[in-house]
């Protein structure tokens, strides 16, 4: 930019369209990656609250063994929409928001590679969000076939209407896939082409490595899901028989299409959270990320392995013995690169000078819950054990430890860590710690009792259950309601801090990274002068400068 030197003198005095102090920009087709990042995060969080509300009604139903609070059709619609919203409307958009906001800043770019594509990808999110929500109001209600939409149940369409909940569901999921592919093309291109001079692969922050690994999965996996969804839509609407056994189709084929993408999809979700852990722990332990190059490369190894494990969701399905054994072994190998990361984080924290800010507490809580989920995950990879707990609450407990314990806690860690950067203001630590305590207790109380219930044989997706499971379900429901309450201090903290929190300064955590060298919030186009990177990203304890040019340093 030619006016770089002028802005360097007085960055905030320079009025420009879309300036950071104009709140209306969040409701426009802005092409600024920081605006889009926050648009993604706030939209996704609204759907997180909606999906959580559905879960709380479900937990209300499960307080007692009988199906007595809601009709069975309503319960089935609730768990279908809860899962769909939490994945397609909350985790994916939320992580795209974090990546959008952070990647260009962390690699020293002024924006994403394709800013207009970026905005278009975001605006698809409210569009398919509306379609999905609208399915509550069509005759027959929303899809009731679970978020897997397994045929033949998903093809039954008892309303007989062409416009039904299931059709809208498929449409929304397909649009979500298109949005995700647009985002993936953009992020991968940005990371490959727009890193600052001097930022070789092994000078790139771990978060960007994990985002790259995750978005590569979107590129190879989503076509399979999209193909499966299109065939399902044809079966549902025009009477083809790809998956309909009555007409010679094969329902198990759909399961392969579905899980070929949807298992790797959990790595799309968890990898960027691994990246958040890798960013947060060094800052608050004041130590370099232990074994950074190995941690970085292990993300790419996870990407590669994630493509050959999908059948572990089908150990009890119509799969032959050899397939079960093969995929049992491939699935278990994923624990090796994952274990490397966990040990590296523990070694990063060990011997450091810890500061337990809210962000650090959430990262530690997330790591400990992920550790538990990883161990039950290896158990589930073991086919003979999985056959007992497959489709029981043991699995529900396991993946909620991943999705809530690691991903949601990791998201909160990221928000508290980068909130001062995003808003220029500081949040209130007291409210933050209250939020952490409620979330940590609520999550464990909600999801730990699901494991014994599952071991005892309680199937997932049931609106009613045998009285022997009641004890664990009452505990889980109490935890669920506590999680609902836990969001209140967070929302209060965010709203009040954003509007009147104390000024944060450019780098309140004394963190190392390009994003901490610019003002808070960062100016339009981020960098007056593109920095030249000369050091690896985690130089805590050694006084080497991160960049060669010192113009923007405090």
């Amino acid at each position: 930019m030619s006016n770089a030197s002028l802005e360097a003198v007085a960055p905030s005095l320079q009025p420009q369209p879309g300036a950071p102090d104009n709140w209306k920009r969040f409701f426009t087709f802005s092409t600024d990656h920081k605006v889009i990042g926050i648009q993604y995060i706030v939209t996704a969080f609204a759907f997180f609250l909606f999906g959580g509300l559905l879960a709380m009604v479900m937990r209300g139903e499960l307080l007692t063994p009988e199906a007595d609070l809601v009709d069975r059709t309503v319960y089935n619609g609730l768990f279908t929409m809860h899962g769909t919203i939490m994945l397609f409307m909350w985790t994916f958009p939320m992580l795209n928001g974090l990546a959008n906001y952070l990647v260009p800043l962390q690699i020293g770019a002024r924006d994403m590679a394709f800013p207009r594509l970026n905005a278009a990808a975001f605006w698809l999110v409210p569009l398919f969000g509306v379609i999905l929500t609208a399915s509550f109001f069509v005759p027959g209600g929303p899809s009731q076939s679970g978020w897997w939409a397994y045929p033949p149940v998903s093809l039954q369409n008892p309303t007989g209407n062409l416009i039904n909940g299931q059709a809208l569901w498929i449409l929304a999921v397909a649009l979500s896939g298109i949005s995700s592919i647009m985002g993936a093309v953009n992020i991968v291109t940005t990371i490959f082409r727009m890193r600052a001079p001097g930022m070789g692969w092994f000078k790139m922050p771990a978060f960007c490595w994990t985002v790259l690994a995750a978005q590569l999965i979107q590129l190879f996996g989503l076509p399979a899901l999209t193909a499966g969804a299109v065939m399902l839509l044809f079966d549902l609407t025009v009477g083809t028989s790809f998956f309909n056994p009555e007409l010679g189709g094969d329902p198990v084929l759909y399961q392969h299409f579905f899980w070929f993408y949807s298992h790797p999809a959990v790595y799309v979700i968890i990898l960027p959270i691994f990246g958040v852990f890798s960013e947060v722990f060094p800052v608050y332990a004041r130590k370099p990320l232990f074994g950074y190059p190995v941690v970085a490369v292990s993300s790419i190894i996870i990407t590669a392995l994630s493509g050959i494990v999908w059948v572990h969701h089908m150990f009890a399905s119509g799969t032959p013995d050899w397939m079960r054994m093969l995929f049992m072994i491939t699935t278990m190998t994923i624990s090796v690169p994952t274990g490397i990361k966990v040990f590296a984080w523990v070694a990063t924290i060990w011997g450091g000078k810890l500061r337990l800010t809210t962000g650090m507490l959430f990262a530690l809580g997330g790591l400990s819950m992920f550790l538990f989920a990883g161990i039950t995950g290896i158990m589930l990879a073991s086919a003979p054990f999985d056959i007992h707990v497959n489709n029981t609450y043991f699995v529900v407990g396991h993946f909620h430890y991943v999705i809530y314990g690691a991903v949601v806690m990791g998201f909160y860690a990221a928000i508290y860590h980068w909130f001062p950067k995003m808003t220029g203001r500081m949040y209130y630590e007291g409210l933050g710690k209250l939020h952490f305590v409620l979330t940590f207790i609520g999550a464990n109380l909600n999801f730990l009792p699901m494991h014994p219930a599952g071991l005892m044989g309680m199937p997932r997706r049931v609106a009613s259950y045998d009285p022997e499971f009641a004890f664990w379900n009452v505990l889980a429901s109490l935890g669920g309601f506590l999680l609902g309450v836990s969001t209140l201090p967070f929302i209060l903290n965010m709203l009040s801090s954003w509007s009147r929190g104390p000024a944060a300064g450019d780098n309140p955590w004394r963190a190392i990274g390009l994003e901490w060298l610019v003002s808070s919030p960062p100016p339009h186009e981020n960098f007056d002068e593109i920095p030249t990177v000369v050091s690896p990203p985690y130089g805590y304890g050694s006084d080497e400068p991160l960049i060669a040019n010192t113009v923007t340093q405090e």
Partner: protein, 304 residues
């Protein structure tokens, strides 16, 4: 490392090991009763994985908690920690050990699955009746014809071809290999008996041979484990494991009983007004009428 550190680490490792071994023993108590030969195999595997998993979990959590408690920066201390960027020897160790553990767990699991041998050939229905009798673990008696298991929305029905007996309750003789052929008349269902630790999706259009060995007399719960639509949760019935004599007597009694409609939760619920607080009148697939069988189980039987 000096000698005191090594001793202290050794003591902690032994404590972790003892706790983990205790957890491994507890693991048996989290499971339903062991009512099949397969359940013994699965529980041993689960106990083993619980022991290993506990050792890792408590080891890592202990290290983390030690850091959190003892390695906090003092107030007003803004200095950095030691600039340790890695340790190749340590990284090689924590890559190699998980690989070895994975090989161990996979080997144990493979062996367990092989010994369970629950799944026969899966054949398309058009191929006709599968030949389950050809598969062969030696049993005390001559191989019986397999029991036909029919799943539908939302009922289970069992058919004993030799005696021409139909039932909504699955009766099995103890200590004999149970041979079933699973088929579905509409959507996916799942044959799941927690006390047996066995589960198999029932796939429409396929006849799936499935077998296991009950070893403990009693009454157990068969639950639908693959989501099958509106009344999925109610699609359950009983499995009765009894002595060979009682089993024969039950078969003879059932064969002499005329066909009667069984109780069926889904069908009855569908045909009566709902009393739930939130009912939005969403359409459902109509439940199949209650099965008409020789022996009709009663829902009260299980909770007596």
């Amino acid at each position: 490392m000096n000698r005191r550190t090594i001793i202290r680490l050794g003591v902690l490792a032994i404590a972790d090991l003892l706790i983990s071994l205790w957890m491994g023993q507890q693991a048996y108590r989290w499971m339903p009763p062991q009512a099949s030969a397969e359940s013994v195999l699965v529980d041993n595997l689960f106990s083993f994985m619980t022991t290993l998993g506990s050792f890792i979990f408590f080891g890592v959590m202990g290290t983390l908690l030690y850091s959190i408690v003892y390695q906090r920066a003092p107030k007003y201390d803004s200095s950095d920690g030691p600039p340790i960027e890695g340790n190749v020897k340590l990284e090689v160790v924590w890559t190699t050990i998980p690989i070895l553990l994975v090989v161990w767990i996979a080997g144990f699991s493979y062996q367990t699955y092989d010994r369970m041998s629950i799944l026969g050939p899966i054949e398309p229905m058009a191929m006709g009746m599968p030949t389950a009798a050809a598969a062969g673990l030696a049993t005390a008696t001559e191989p019986q014809e397999p029991i036909q298991v029919y799943a539908r929305q939302w009922a289970w029905e069992f058919y004993y071809p030799e005696q021409a007996v139909s039932s909504t309750e699955l009766h099995l003789p103890v200590n004999q290999r149970a041979r079933l052929v699973l088929s579905s008349e509409d959507v996916l269902h799942g044959f799941f008996v927690a006390a047996f630790r066995v589960k198999q999706d029932v796939v429409p259009g396929r006849a799936i041979d499935f077998e296991f060995t009950p070893i403990r007399e009693g009454r157990y719960r068969l639950r639908d484990s693959e989501y099958s639509g509106t009344y999925f949760a109610a699609n359950q019935t009983n499995v009765v494991v009894e002595s060979a004599a009682d089993y024969e007597q039950w078969l003879a009694m059932a064969a002499a009983t005329p066909l009667t409609p069984a109780e069926n939760v889904a069908y009855e619920e569908f045909n009566q007004a709902t009393e739930n607080a939130i009912d939005l009148g969403w359409a459902t697939v109509k439940p199949a009428p209650a099965p008409i069988v020789n022996y009709a189980s009663s829902e009260e039987d299980f909770h007596e």
